[in-house]
């Protein structure tokens, strides 16, 4: 005998912030601060980096690209990680806000990936004499970009929001596993052929303090901007869902 029994659960405590309306209030309170802080960090960090740091003795002025390249690369990876966590929360606890936050983070993640790819390519042209090389690190980044594209395409292809949330979450899990697998595969693949260009021109030990502090400020700026954008976009998604919900009921009146 199968008995299926469904009683809605109501969250409490920390998870009550997973209630969309509560979340909207919360984000509205902290968003202005976030916007301002991220703008300050970005402006200060980038101006500091661009105008007030010396040239590297080997790389010349191109070293200034580091203030864009490294923060964006960091955020590109962390955005995916955040989506993975949010997807897990949705699959396990079914809080709408976390699913919508994952949805909201994806476009931000792609743009970060694009920035990292673009600045890297622009950097690579003077340093390696080529825009692009099939170096393992660059390659695995390109694969990450593809995963982002697939994830976003799946979200937009499915009409029912809950179905879309479930499917994209499953894709995010499986995709993460395969992203790690690809990373190892790519390492293996390129060692065998000894690709000339190497990324380790400038290992961390070489990064002098003059470069290091503005870099930290820029990283902080990118992190704050990421959170501001994701929070705001999550709010947008919540409003769209609410509009949809209200319209659905209105129509049947």
């Amino acid at each position: 005998m199968s008995v299926s029994d469904h009683t809605p659960k109501r969250p409490s405590g920390f998870w009550s912030y997973a209630n969309p309306v509560k979340f909207l209030g919360f984000s509205q309170r902290i968003l202005p601060t976030l916007w301002v802080l991220s703008a300050i960090c970005l402006v200060v960090g980038l101006i500091w980096g661009f105008f007030f740091t010396p040239d590297d003795f080997r790389q010349g002025s191109t070293v200034k690209i580091i203030y864009l390249h490294v923060p964006s690369a960091l955020m590109a990876i962390n955005a995916w990680f955040m989506m993975l966590v949010a997807s897990l929360i949705w699959l396990i606890r079914r809080h709408h806000v976390s699913a919508l936050a994952a949805k909201a983070a994806a476009p931000v993640g792609v743009v970060m990936t694009l920035i990292a790819l673009f600045t890297g390519a622009v950097w690579g042209e003077p340093m390696w004499g080529t825009w692009w090389a099939w170096d393992p690190r660059l390659t695995s980044f390109l694969i990450l970009f593809l995963f982002y594209l697939g994830y976003i395409a799946l979200w937009s292809a499915i009409e029912d929001p809950d179905t879309a949330a479930d499917l994209t979450s499953v894709l995010c899990l499986v995709g993460s596993v395969f992203a790690v697998l690809s990373r190892y595969a790519v390492n293996f693949w390129n060692q065998g052929l000894h690709q000339g260009a190497s990324l380790s021109l400038d290992k961390e030990e070489n990064v002098a303090d003059v470069f290091y502090f503005p870099l930290l400020v820029c990283i902080a700026g990118f992190v704050l901007l990421f959170f501001a954008l994701v929070l705001y976009r999550t709010g947008t998604e919540i409003r769209l869902r609410r509009t949809r919900a209200l319209q659905a009921r209105e129509v049947r009146a």
Binding site: A121, T130, W134, L146, A153, L193
Partner: protein
């Protein structure tokens, strides 16, 4: 006619309509080639023009599937065939919508993907030009293939099979032009041939497509 074009574009750009997917497929094929062939940049730059043309062609091909099949399945084609619009015009419009939503983005994306494959610098202009001239022919020929196979459920693969041989002349001249351009040779002759093919195909194919579709509707 305008209504049909508008609707087709609207459907293509709306969620799930497939806009951007051809592009994504192009990107992915280009990315996968080095995984298959190996990361040697010299080798890659030699095969780059050919692979880019082939990738664009495959992306075009795969998106043909939705060109008529969806309209067939939900009965729209039956209704269109009994509407005042002549079938030839309708199919031309559909090919145009396909080109705008698939071919054109491919042309624009090709140079970016050229970077990934180390396309030699002089090749970019020629690549874009040859694709610009060649992709309309791909859409029009593809419409014919779609019209032939529209009655076959999930005829996608069968259609690929029928259409690919028809794509051969376009591919040969297009890739030849891009390759000559990339190696600094003169590429006007293959480009002229390519333009000729495209013009001829645009003028004649819609009649063949309409004839095929009429048979299928029967």
């Amino acid at each position: 006619m305008k209504a049909l074009l508008k609707r087709d574009l609207m459907l293509a750009f709306r969620a799930g309509g497939g806009f951007g997917l051809g592009l994504a497929f192009f990107l992915i094929v280009t990315v996968l080639v080095p995984f298959g062939v190996g990361p040697n940049s010299d080798l890659l730059s030699r095969i780059a023009p050919g692979i880019l043309w082939l990738g664009a062609l495959l992306a075009c091909l795969l998106s043909l599937d939705r060109l008529l099949a969806l309209d067939w399945e939900d009965g729209t084609l039956d209704l269109l065939a009994t509407s005042p619009l002549p079938l030839e015009a309708g199919l031309s419009i559909k090919a145009l919508a396909h080109w705008i939503s698939t071919g054109l983005p491919l042309v624009l994306a090709a140079p970016v993907l050229g970077i990934l494959l180390n396309l030699p610098t002089p090749g970019y202009g020629w690549l874009v030009l040859s694709l610009l001239l060649g992709t309309p022919a791909l859409s029009v020929i593809g419409t014919f293939g779609a019209a032939l196979t529209v009655g076959v459920k999930r005829g996608g693969l069968l259609m690929s099979l029928l259409v690919l041989p028809l794509y051969v002349p376009t591919l040969i001249f297009g890739a030849e032009a891009a390759r000559r351009g990339a190696t600094g040779m003169d590429a006007t002759t293959p480009l002229l041939m390519l333009a000729g093919i495209t013009a001829g195909v645009i003028a004649i194919m819609p009649f063949a497509s309409a004839a095929a579709l009429r048979v299928n509707l029967r």
